[in-house]
Symmetry: C2
DNA sequence: TTAATTTGTGCGACTCACAAACATATTAAG
DNA sequence: CTTAATATGTTTGTGAGTCGCACAAATTAA
C-alpha cells in the first residue's frame, strides 16, 4: 500500500489528532476543496457503501452512485492492489450478461484492535473489517485490586495479545469505556466503582505504548458505531442507541453521521429534565430522566410495593413476576412509561425513526419491547409512512467490541467535506 | 449570467424541488463527486464566507481557506461578471502593499421576495443579499375576513408589488408562516385563528402564479435563517432560536447547517415532556413544555395570584410589576425557570452555546434576559471556555422577513456534499 | 453458432485547484 | 524624487480526478 492511500491506511492516523498541524495555515473553519481531496472523499464513500450494502459489484456501485463504471474501477483498483478489498464469488446468478464480481473486504486486510474497559473487567479483541472477532480476551478485575496498574497491565497484555495475531499492522486501537470520558483528549473523566481511573490520559498512554492511532469514547457511542458499521444500523441514516441500566446513556446517528456536540460531548439525554418537581439527581438538578428511569428507581419502587427480591430486581425478573403479580405488572408498565418518556422526547426533538435498546431493559425481552413500543408510540408523533421502531440490541459484548473498532473506522470513513 | 453559474442563479431553482428529476438515475442516498461539482461547492463556500465575514478581499479569503489567491480569483471572477459581487472600497488602510479590494454583494444583484404570513396580517418585501429591506408592505387581515381569498389576494398583491421593484429577476420567494407547515410540500397544515388556511398548498400556488422557486417554512425556522444570514448568527456554527409566546417554537443551527429532522420536520421542543405528572397538553400528552412555559400559563398563574390585569399580562408588564409587587417577582422567577428548563434540556442534549430569544419573552428586556441566563446556567452544564449565552432577538419583523429570504439563500448556499 | 446483454477496462477530453512567475499599487527609506 | 519592500491580483502551464466513448470478456437465449 503506497502512502497515497490515506483511507484505512495506518500512516494517515499516526499523527495525534489532538495536536494541531503547525506548518499549514490555522484552520479557520472555512475550507476549499481541491481535486486531490475528491479522490479521498469518494474513496470513503465507496467504502461506506460496501459496509452498508455488503459485497457489491463495481457496476452496482456505479448505478447507485450515478457514476460510470470506469470511475468505480479507478477508485477500487488501488484498494484491491493494496489488499484491502478482494473480489468474491457472486452468490446468485442474475440472468444474462457477464457475471458481476462483488467486492468485499479482505479477511486479511488491516484489522482494528478493540478494547472494552469496565470497572469489573477489561476486554480486548481483534476486529476485522468484516466484523469478525478474534483474539478475544476478558480479564476480570477484582474489587480489591482496582488501581491504575491493574487496569493498565490487563490492557497492555490484551492489546499485545491481539496485535500479535493481526495479519497486518492494525489500523488503530478503539477503546470503549464504561464511564465518563473526554473524547477530545481521550482521557477518563470518571469511572464509577473505579475512582483510581479518573483523570487517566488513556489515549496518550496507548499511543505511546503501541504507536497506533487510538480513540477513546464512552460505551453508548461504541454501541452506536458497532450497530452502524457491523450491526442493525447499517444503511440506516438516522437512529439512536439507548442504554438503560443503572445509568442512562444515549448516542445518536443523524444525517448519516454520529452526532457529536459542538465540543465533542453532548447527548446527555439522562440529564434532561422530565419531572419539573421531581427528586434531586446526582448532577444536582431536579427531575432528570435518570431519577425516574434507572434500575435504581425500579428497585426502590419495587421495595415500596413489597415485591420479593426488590433489591436485586431487573427487567428479566420483573417480566417474570408480572405474569404472576398484578403489582409487578403495574410497576413494569410504569418503568416502561418512564423510559419511554426520554426516548419520546428525543424522538419529538430530533425525529430519529429507529431506537436500539441496550442495558437492563434489553433483558426484558419481547415483553419489554412490546411495552416500550406501545408507550413510545403513545408519546411520540411518528409520521405516517415512517413508523417508530424499537429494536432490542443483540449481543452487547460483541457489539461493544465491534463498536470500539468502529471508532477507528468512523474516523477514517466519515465524510468531512 | 450564463447558465453555468448555478449558485444564486434563478434557473437553478426553477425545477420544483418536490418533483424528483426523472431523467437521471434515482437518488439512492449515495453520491460520488466530480470535478465539476467541486467548483459549485466551493462557490457556495466562498459566498457563505462573505455572508459570515462581510466585505472581504480575495487575498483574505485565500488566507482563511488555506488556498491560493489565484483559486479565489477563479471562483469570484464569474460572479463579478454576473453582477452578483462587486469590488467595494476598503474602509481602512492596512499599511504597506497594494490595497485590497474587498468583495461584497451588489445592491443590484438578484434579490429575494420575502413573505410573512400571520393570521392577522400579510407582510411582503424585497430583500437584497446585503440584507436590505425594500418594497415592504403590511396588510392587516380583519378577524371577520379570514378566508383563503383574502389571504391569497393580499399575498399576490404584495409579491407583485415587491417583484415590480426588483432590479433583476428575483431568486425566489421565501415564505414564513405563523403556524404549522409541511416543509416537504410547502403546504400549510394548520394556522391558529385562521382555520380556512389549513391544507392550502401555498408553495405550488405561488410557484404557479409567479414562476419563481418558492420555499415555505414555519416562523421559528425563518427567525433562525434570518439570524444566520443577516443577523447575530453570522459566523456562529451552533445556535438555537427560541420563540416563546402563546406557543413555543424552536429551530436549531447545528454543525454549520440548519437542523431538519430526517423528514423535514422535527425540532418540536414545545412538545417534549418536562413534567411527568403535569397537565394535559393540546397535543394529548401530559406535561409538555408548552403546558408550563407559555403566555397562557403565565396569565393563568397571574390570575391565581390575583395580579392586576392578569388576562392581558405579558413579560414587559410582569417585569414592571415585579419592581412593585413581590408576588409578581416570584411569578417572573417561576416563568423564567420554566422556560429555562426547555432551553436547558436542548442544551444538555445538543450542546449549542448560543440562544436567541424571540416572542413575548423578548419583551421582558434585560431583566428577563438576566433571569433566563441565571436559570439556564443553573440547569445546563456549560463547558469551561464555552459559556452559554442568551441573546434577546432584535427586530422580529425585520429578521422574519430576512429569514424568509434566508430560506431561499439557504437552499442555494448550503453545502450538501 | 450467433445475437443480445452485462461487466469491466483503456484512452482522450474536460474541469478544477495548484504552483510559479508577473504586473500593479501602495508605503517606507534614502 | 527615486528606489526598495510589501501586499494584491492575474496569467500560464501542470496534475488529479471524473466523464464519454469505444472495446474486450463472459454469460444466456435463440
Amino acid at each position: 500500500m503506497t502512502s497515497k492511500n490515506k483511507v484505512l491506511d495506518h500512516a494517515s492516523l499516526t499523527a495525534r489528532n489532538s495536536t494541531p498541524v503547525a506548518d499549514g495555515p490555522e484552520d479557520s473553519g472555512f475550507a476549499i476543496f481541491s481535486a486531490t481531496q475528491i479522490g479521498e472523499s469518494n474513496k470513503r464513500r465507496v467504502l461506506q457503501m460496501l459496509f452498508d450494502l455488503g459485497p457489491t459489484s463495481r457496476a452496482e456501485l456505479a448505478r447507485l452512485t450515478g457514476t460510470k463504471r470506469t470511475t468505480i474501477t479507478g477508485i477500487v483498483q488501488p484498494l484491491i492492489e493494496a489488499g484491502l478489498l478482494i473480489e468474491v464469488d457472486p452468490n446468485e446468478k442474475r440472468g444474462v450478461g457477464k457475471p458481476a464480481r462483488p467486492l468485499w473486504f479482505s479477511a486479511s486486510a488491516a484489522p482494528v484492535c478493540a478494547v472494552f474497559l469496565m470497572p469489573d473487567k477489561v476486554e480486548t479483541a481483534l476486529i476485522s473489517l468484516t466484523g469478525g472477532v478474534s483474539a478475544h480476551r476478558q480479564v476480570p478485575i477484582a474489587p480489591g485490586k482496582r488501581n491504575r496498574e491493574t487496569y493498565i497491565d490487563a490492557l497492555v497484555a490484551g492489546v499485545d495479545h491481539a496485535l500479535a495475531q493481526a495479519p497486518r499492522q492494525a489500523l488503530g486501537i478503539g477503546v470503549a469505556v464504561g464511564g465518563m470520558v473526554d473524547p477530545a483528549d481521550g482521557s477518563i473523566v470518571a469511572m464509577n466503582l473505579a475512582p483510581a481511573m479518573a483523570g487517566l490520559g488513556l489515549r496518550d498512554l496507548l499511543e505511546d505504548r503501541f504507536a497506533l492511532p487510538t480513540i477513546v469514547d464512552h460505551h453508548p457511542r461504541a454501541l452506536l458505531l458497532g450497530e452502524r458499521w457491523f450491526g442493525a444500523g447499517r444503511g440506516m441514516g438516522n437512529f439512536a442507541v439507548i442504554y438503560a441500566d443503572e445509568v442512562l446513556g444515549c448516542a445518536m446517528y443523524l444525517d448519516g453521521k454520529p452526532f457529536r456536540g459542538p465540543h465533542g460531548s453532548g447527548g446527555e439525554l439522562g440529564h434532561t429534565i422530565v419531572d419539573l418537581n421531581g427528586g434531586t439527581c446526582t448532577c444536582g438538578k431536579r427531575g432528570c430522566w435518570e431519577t425516574v428511569a434507572t434500575l435504581g428507581w425500579l428497585r426502590d419502587r419495587a421495595a415500596e410495593a413489597g415485591l420479593p427480591g426488590a433489591e436485586r430486581l431487573d427487567s428479566e425478573r420483573l417480566v417474570d413476576l408480572s405474569a404472576q403479580m398484578p403489582a409487578a405488572g403495574a410497576l413494569l408498565s410504569r418503568y416502561a412509561h418512564n423510559i419511554a418518556i426520554g426516548i419520546a422526547n428525543l424522538q419529538t426533538l430530533l425525529m430519529p425513526d429507529n431506537f436500539i435498546i441496550y442495558g437492563d431493559v434489553r433483558r426484558g425481552g419481547e415483553i419489554m419491547q412490546q411495552f416500550l413500543t406501545r408507550e413510545i408510540s403513545g408519546l411520540a408523533a411518528s409520521l405516517p409512512g415512517n413508523p417508530i421502531t424499537v429494536f432490542l440490541g443483540q449481543n452487547e459484548q460483541t457489539i461493544t467490541l465491534q463498536g470500539a473498532a468502529g471508532l477507528i473506522v468512523s474516523k477514517q470513513l466519515e465524510i468531512e467535506y
